[in-house]
Symmetry: C2
Subunit: 399 residues, 2 copies
């Protein structure tokens, strides 16, 4: 059975996790699965079990789950009234078990790894994916190997290492490491679940189904998503396309992928109407989780945005940090800088009059601010020192 599909040339291939790229185009394959009259299992909680018909898994094994999914869709009512925004919601994927959206993909890929009898899984990551893959491998009783860049911060290494993962800090070219990992995988029968893995992407579709239900059975008019490798937004688009094909919705949302101006290879290609992605020589952004200089899913994403109605945007460093603080101060959501890009892009477009006042927008928040706490700009916060005896006077002064 030809279960994998090249989103560029349309050729199909047999499912084989050792060969996940189109031999003709070189682009990552996606699942060829199309749900047949899928039903939402309304007695199941949100997460995969509720949308099992939409996902190429025979069953959902609770023993492989950490309780991912069902992240809240929060109406950003205070932001809306303070900034005169059109209706806007945050889908807070930072509330997944390891603090990022990656868990949605990890749980599906780990199901596949178990079904195919792999004993070892791996990934390449600079952060969120390392912790997520290691945690789900641990839960499944699989060995894991995580390749990280030599200069990866200690916190991110520990968040994977704590799960018993073999973490290897690799000196050398990161893009080459991506290719090398698949070679090693083929050689040793390790399943490398990297950013654009087709089963990982199938897991991201679930977020779209949940947004549809959380909005009361409709798609938002606009969806903003931070973009790194491209895999997450590809999954979200596929999810809404599934809903349209199955008759749940009549129109797709307008998809807006957001990158940081300091590393925006997909946005740049989109703006110049190019189909190929030119690597960024030196990424410079605080939004590390999306600082991907040569995103493997970029070409496919641009094609999907053109086919389904969508675009790419980019925002600057000042806008990102301001948006991170604004979301925390007005709505109580502490996200990482990568996630803050979507609020920055939405705010800018609203100001430019490019968002209809009647449209409903969903911002996808992808990761927790707790994981990047060192990047918070302390100078903007209200932090002071005082002696206990001085407190009453100090407090009285700002009554």
């Amino acid at each position: 059975m030809k279960n994998l599909l090249c989103p560029i040339c349309g050729r199909t291939y047999p499912a084989d996790v050792r060969s996940l790229f189109c031999p003709v185009c070189g682009d990552p394959l996606v699942s060829a699965f199309i749900p047949k009259s899928p039903k939402i299992r309304r007695r199941e909680p949100m997460g995969i079990s509720r949308y099992l018909d939409f996902i190429p898994l025979a069953e959902f094994d609770r023993n492989l789950s950490l309780g991912e999914g069902g992240a809240p869709l929060q109406a950003l009512t205070r932001l809306q009234s303070a900034f005169h925004f059109p209706p806007v919601f945050a889908k807070n994927e930072a509330m997944n078990p390891t603090g990022s959206f990656k868990d949605r993909g990890s749980v599906v890929a780990i199901h596949v790894a178990r079904a195919l009898g792999f004993e070892t899984v791996g990934t390449i990551s600079t952060g969120n994916m390392a912790g997520s893959t290691a945690a789900y491998a641990a839960r499944a009783g699989l060995r894991s190997v995580i390749f990280v860049k030599d200069d990866t911060p200690r916190e991110k290494i520990l968040a994977a290492g704590i799960h018993g993962a073999n973490v290897i800090k690799v000196r050398g070219d990161y893009a080459l490491l991506f290719v090398k990992s698949f070679e090693i995988g083929r050689l040793l029968s390790f399943y490398f679940i990297n950013s654009v893995d087709p089963y990982r992407i199938e897991g991201y579709k679930v977020t779209s189904y949940e947004i549809f239900e959380q909005l009361g059975g409709r798609a938002p008019e606009i969806l903003f998503v931070p973009v790194s490798s491209g895999g997450h937004l590809i999954g979200l688009i596929r999810g809404f396309v599934d809903l349209k094909r199955a008759g749940f919705i009549r129109r797709l949302p307008r998809f807006i992928g957001v990158q940081a101006r300091g590393c925006a290879p997909i946005t740049r290609a989109f703006e110049r109407k190019q189909t190929a992605i030119k690597p960024v020589r030196s990424p410079r952004t605080i939004a590390h989780a999306i600082a991907n200089p040569y995103p493997p899913g970029g070409k496919a994403l641009i094609k999907m945005l053109a086919a389904n109605g969508g675009e790419m945007a980019a925002v600057g460093e000042g806008e990102i940090l301001k948006a991170q603080r604004t979301l925390a101060e007005y709505e109580g959501i502490f996200c990482d800088p990568a996630s803050a890009t979507v609020l920055a892009a939405f705010a800018k477009r609203t100001k430019q009059g490019r968002i209809s006042p009647r449209s409903r927008t969903v911002l996808v928040i992808t990761g927790s601010g707790l994981k990047t706490i060192g990047d918070v700009d302390e100078s903007k916060l209200r932090i002071a020192g005082a002696d206990l005896s001085d407190l009453p006077q100090l407090m009285a002064a700002w009554k």
Copy 2:
């Protein structure tokens, strides 16, 4: 109406958040609310809205919520078979919006703050409560003031400060600060939502109701909970007592509160059959979130454990760190050291033959390991470095 109750002497008092301690005993008051024929609203998702009949709130305002509640109850199947444990589950409260169980209490107290017209709320905290209170205050549009100890780690200060809170690092005696905060609150009409606030405690009851439903409509035989001020376990006991009183369950679980041996004032009093708590002079434990040298709810907790069937335990530093790693390696849950105490205590009692093989145990995990990542013992993890070119040989060696 006399809505508050002293759990020591049984006197009742009018609800007044400026006076939350019994003037006779000096102990913190709890809510006198007893649910009348409460019903579970099975169409609502888990969290307060589903159990509104059980909580002294007239309504649940979604605009004050960050999506707290509904934390997964994970069957620890791999741990069970590897260590020959009796059936055991983790209620993973670290999956709440700000990464700890505190959010359950903050959302209820913030409802009360809004209903009473307060413009400023505050708290005293060394960590989890600071971020939680600041986040919920931000969501509600209230000003917040957070008193922290002078030596509180920068990360914890930032996690509160990012929400626009006024964070004040206070030099001086911490126990005195607790008293002082209420004085300041009375003077300036600030509502200090501290650890044993009666409304905060009402929020913790919801966790008990969820565990009951997640176990298929029954209570566990045993419940292990990390204990700091005592407020959390008091809330969990109250929750199960509600269920018993309303006829949902026939027997309460056996409650086991756990402290770190290096700061175990309640356990020490329990073991010596004392009713009063003697302050710990110099707390020494890595479980910072429960290193409370003079827990204000200690006396009430000991009384409630005696009345409802329960006990206190303590575990050592080595056991704590080992349990933290074990939970992460076998089950994919990365908790903080304070949470790991419950697995350590459960493992020890199982080994001693004190846990019946037919009993079902729930371990309450209270906080995320991401918030205490600096405390991970790196020397026990598998972290290595390699050149890209050496990877294939390196990998082949551990095939």
